[in-house]
Structures are given as C-alpha cells and as structure tokens.
C-alpha cells in the first residue's frame, strides 16, 4: 500500500513539475517572440530615420552622390531584407551610418531634428537587441535541459537564434544625447 502511495505521489509530482516546466518554456518562447517583434520594429524605425537623413543630405548637397546613394540603398535593403540576410543588411546600414553621419555637420534645425530621431532610433536598437538576446539566452538555457529535450516539451517552436550586429552608435550621434543607455 505504502509503495502504491509513493509511486502515485511521485507520478503526481513529476506531472506537476513537467506541466510547470512546459508552461515556463511557453512563456519564454512568447517573451522571445515579443522581444523579436520589438527589435524588428526598432530596426525598421532606424532604417526609416536613416532614409530621411539620406534624402535631406541629397537635397541639401551635404554628401557626395556616392555616399548618399550608399546610405539610402543600405537603408532600403535593411528594411526589406528577409530573415536570412537581416543581420548582414543591418550591419551594412550601421557601416553606412558610421561613414555618412560624421560628414553631415548640424547646419540647421531640420537636420538636427532628423539626427536626433536617428540617434533615438539607434539607441532603441541597442536596447531592443540586448533584451532580445537576453530572452534568447534564457529560452535556450531551459531548452537545453535533458527533460525538455527527451520529452520534446518545446513542441514545434524552433530554437531562437541570437541577433548579432554592430550597433554601436557613431560618436557624432551619441554627442547629441550622452545620457543614452549603453
């Protein structure tokens, strides 16, 4: 009789634990998806800000045609890139910004406004990317557990991947708002 009680309570305990673990994993996947959506939104915003700066620079003749074209095409490619090309497209945009922004100066209020938008967009990318990678790290560490793998508790959800790009804002932008988080 005692044996039966022991086995039954062990099964109940295990089932409770597994249910809790599956729920925890579900929450982690949801957090990762949400963080990814936020990251995508911030990247789109950065590309749009970069495009606006490029258009202004062309109209005002602040950049050489080649530099301005490189910036606007990097912004366009970044905002339309598929999942596989996303990281390299965003890196290209970061590189173009590093080249172009220091050449612009701050000649009038319109340009300063555009640059302030771009600075905010860039710092939000830093935040969103760090929060996304944090969510990925937490999710992967639970997915790695033996029980989770043996019992396939993560279901059909694919293993989330880290998003690695160079998003250090150019000094010309951080100078506009040095209190931005790092």
């Amino acid at each position: 009789m005692l044996n039966v009680v022991a086995v039954v309570s062990a099964v109940v305990l295990l089932a409770t634990y597994l249910t809790w673990l599956a729920g925890r994993l579900d929450r982690l996947h949801a957090r990762t998806d949400g963080a990814r959506a936020s990251l995508d939104a911030q990247l789109v915003r950065r590309a749009a800000s970069a495009m606006a700066v490029a258009e202004y620079a062309v109209a005002a003749g602040l950049l050489s045609v080649a530099t301005a074209r490189a910036l606007s095409s990097a912004a366009r490619v970044a905002s339309t890139a598929g999942v596989a090309e996303r990281e390299s497209a965003e890196n290209d945009l970061s590189r173009s910004l590093h080249t172009a922004v220091p050449l612009l100066g701050q000649r009038d209020a319109d340009l300063r406004g555009l640059l302030a938008d771009l600075a905010a967009a860039c710092s939000h990318v830093v935040l969103a990317r760090r929060f996304y990678n944090d969510a990925v790290r937490d999710t992967r560490s639970v997915r790695r557990r033996h029980l989770v793998r043996w019992l396939r508790l993560s279901g059909h959800a694919p293993t989330p991947g880290y998003f690695e790009i160079d998003d250090t804002p150019t000094t010309a932008l951080t100078a506009l708002d040095p209190a931005q988080p790092t």
């Binding site: 929450r27 949801a30 998806d33 949400g34 969103a128 760090r130 929060f131 209190a179």
Partner: protein
C-alpha cells in the same frame, strides 16, 4: 504612461536604492507620467508622498555583519497583489529583484511588461551565486534589465547569466546650482573640500590630508572643509599640530546642506582609492559649479570625460595630488574653465536625462506586448475568496504573452 515602481527597502530609512527610486519617481512625474511606488514603511506616523503605497513593515535580517531590513510574508504578498491589480500599470519596474524582498514578492505575482534595475555591485556574492538557480524562473519574467554601474552589470553577467543596459544614477542638477556658501568660505587663501565617511580608508581622506599638509606649509591661508560621518579625533591626530585649526570637520551634513558645502570650496577633491562604483559626489560638485580633482578610477574617469570635465591624478599618490591642487589653486582661469566643462558634462546625468533613458527602456519593453498594453496581476491561488474583479480576467498560465507567442 502608467508606471509601477517597487522599492525593496523601507521608504523611511534613507539609503541609496530608496533615494534612486524616489528621484526616478519624481523625474517621471515631472515628465508627465503617472507613477505609483510600492515600498515597505516602518513608521506609520511618517507622512508619505502621495505616490507611495505602503506594503507593510520590514523584518531585520542579519547578513554579513550588517542588518538588512527586508519585507516578506503573506501580508506583503497580498498588498503587492492588490497594488498590481489596482494600478493597471503599463510597465512594472522592480528594483533589486535579486534580493529576498518586496521586489521578488511582486515579481512572483506579476506578468506583462516588466523592467528591473540591479543596484548591487558585488562580483563575488556567494549568496547571489547560490540563489541564482532558484531565482531563475522568476527572473526570466523580466524583459528589460538595467544596471546602474559597470560593476553592477558585471555582477549580472557573472551570476545571473544575462546582460543589462547601463543607465547610471542621476543628480538633481538644479538643486546644486547657485547655492550660498557658508559664512567665511571659501575665503581668499584657497579652500579644498572632501565629502564622505572620514574613517573609511577607501574614501582616501588620508591621501588628501597628506597632500594638504604639504601644500599648507607654504600657503598660510589654505583650508580644508571635510563633511561626512566618522571619528574626527583620528583625523586631527593625523595632522601636524599647526595645521589642525585649518581643517574644519562638519560631521554628517544633510542633503539640504550639501549644495552650500560644495559652494564653499574652490576645489572638490575625491581621493578615493577604490570601491567606488559610481561618482555621484563628483556629479554633485560639478552641478554646483565647483571644479573637481579626482583619483584616476575607471568610474571617475568616465564621469569626468577622460579628464576633460575634471582633473584626474594617480590613485593614492599624495605628491601628484598636491602638485595638481597647487597648479589649480594658482590659476583661477583654469579652475573656471574646468568648472564650466564640468557643468556642461553634468547635464547628461541630470535625473531628467536619466528618466528619458529609462523611458526608452519602457517603450522598448512595451513594444514586445502589442496585444496587452496594460500590466496585469496573475490570478493568485492563495486568495480564492477574493471578490471577482472585472479588470482582471483569469487567464491561462501563459498570461498576457500568449498572443504574442502563438
């Protein structure tokens, strides 16, 4: 935005984390946001600011030679739950959730957009290392982590296996501007200032006293103003007899008196030899328009913009400090230029700027919750008798994130 802040330490006991939460709350309110702070309160008689909701008394816990006042138990849990439910916050922002405290209690019951600030900078915390696996499931709910210093961020990376964005503490620049100096100060012979515990070796007062003794022999009018708690007799004993009346010990000064203290000296000296995670005193001096001379610690170098906004000298070197001070005491123009650059630098560290950065974190975290913009409390099992509340629909374990995840 509706923001719920949780302070883990008693509101009526002054302390670093409590002051941070208070200043952040006030800066957010000044920026037009709706803020509620849940905090333990020990003294029921003490009047509270309108934005504070008391969560009960704290229990003293002895740890590592000091007493931590923490709050836990069913009463606090119930109050936290009610606060979450009534607040309907867009963002919940916890402080020091890694300690066994009100922040952790609230975290256990919460879901939705959650941000946490980590204050502790203890890279070798055995307690944190031991507790981290047990805390992990709760800490996983946090979607945006903030560290107040590089050291605090390192602590998170090493013990909690995550990362954080660095947003340092702020200062209220306005309260330090244009204060009236104390009567008779700074005088014409030059005045130096120091603020900090005078018997804490890492604050480096002995380095400054050494440098002062050297300078004062040749400068009959030079004086030193020292503010901070500790045994003054030891300080006097460390000085040559003829200099003792030129070092004025104020003892512990109030927050209200600090601006006057900084205004009373020609140079503010931070001779720390280590352990300082963030140079808040430097920022206060810079806000007051007093030029700063500080030891070349990482944190100080960052705050002083690599020596452009304040002069740096080699850590623990009284000779170098004396030479640096002599150069500046003899050159009012350079002092003024240094003060100007300091005042320009400190604007980036004003609470209004810090609050803007924190709001950026809130916005980023909220964007991850498109379907549920409002923070909700979990239905809690131990309270089945709780009257039904139309604002919280019972939901499945996945909580508000279920939609985003599907």
């Amino acid at each position: 935005m509706k923001v719920g802040l949780v302070c883990p330490y008693p509101w009526d006991v002054p302390g670093g984390v409590m002051a941070h939460v208070r200043d952040l709350a006030e800066a957010l309110i000044a920026a037009g946001h709706e803020v509620s702070v849940l905090a333990p309160v020990d003294d029921d008689e003490e009047p509270l600011p309108p934005y504070v909701v008391p969560a009960g008394r704290t229990v003293p816990v002895r740890y590592n030679g000091s007493v931590a006042r923490l709050v836990f138990g069913p009463i606090s849990a119930r109050r936290a739950r009610r606060w979450l439910r009534d607040g309907q916050f867009d963002v919940l922002h916890l402080h020091s959730p890694e300690t066994l405290s009100l922040s952790l209690i609230t975290l256990l019951q919460a879901s939705g957009p959650i941000v946490a600030t980590f204050h502790s900078a203890n890279p070798r915390s055995r307690v944190l290392a031991a507790a981290s696996p047990a805390l992990q499931p709760a800490l996983e709910k946090i979607q945006g982590r903030i560290a107040v210093s590089a050291a605090a961020r390192r602590t998170i990376v090493e013990h909690l296996h995550g990362d954080a964005v660095l947003i340092p503490n702020g200062v209220h620049v306005k309260t330090f501007v244009g204060a009236e100096p104390m009567p008779g100060w700074p005088g014409t012979g030059g005045a130096l200032g120091f603020l900090g515990r005078i018997d804490e070796p890492r604050k480096g007062l002995s380095v400054l006293l050494d440098a002062f003794s050297r300078l004062a022999q040749g400068r009959p009018g030079l004086r030193l103003l020292v503010a901070g708690p500790g045994d003054g007799d030891e300080v006097r004993a460390a000085l040559p007899a003829n200099l003792r009346d030129r070092v004025v010990l104020l003892g512990l000064i109030s927050e209200e008196d600090k601006p006057r203290f900084y205004a009373s000296v020609d140079l503010y000296v931070a001779p720390n030899i280590g352990g300082e995670s963030f140079g808040i005193v430097l920022l206060e001096a810079m806000a007051a328009g007093t030029p700063v001379v500080a030891s070349d610690l990482d944190a100080f170098r960052r705050v002083l913009d690599d020596g452009r906004a304040g002069k740096l000298f080699p850590i623990g070197d009284p000779d170098a400090l004396a030479a640096t001070l002599a150069g500046l005491l003899d050159d009012p123009t350079r002092r003024e230029a240094l003060a100007d650059r300091g005042a320009a630098r400190v604007a980036a560290y004003d609470w209004s700027a810090v609050a803007r950065s924190v709001l950026g974190v809130y916005q980023t975290v909220r964007m991850a919750h498109p379907a549920h913009p409002t923070h909700r409390a979990h239905p809690v099992r131990e309270e089945p008798a709780e009257p039904a509340d139309p604002t919280i629909a019972p939901r499945s374990g996945a909580g508000p994130r279920a939609v985003a995840g599907s």
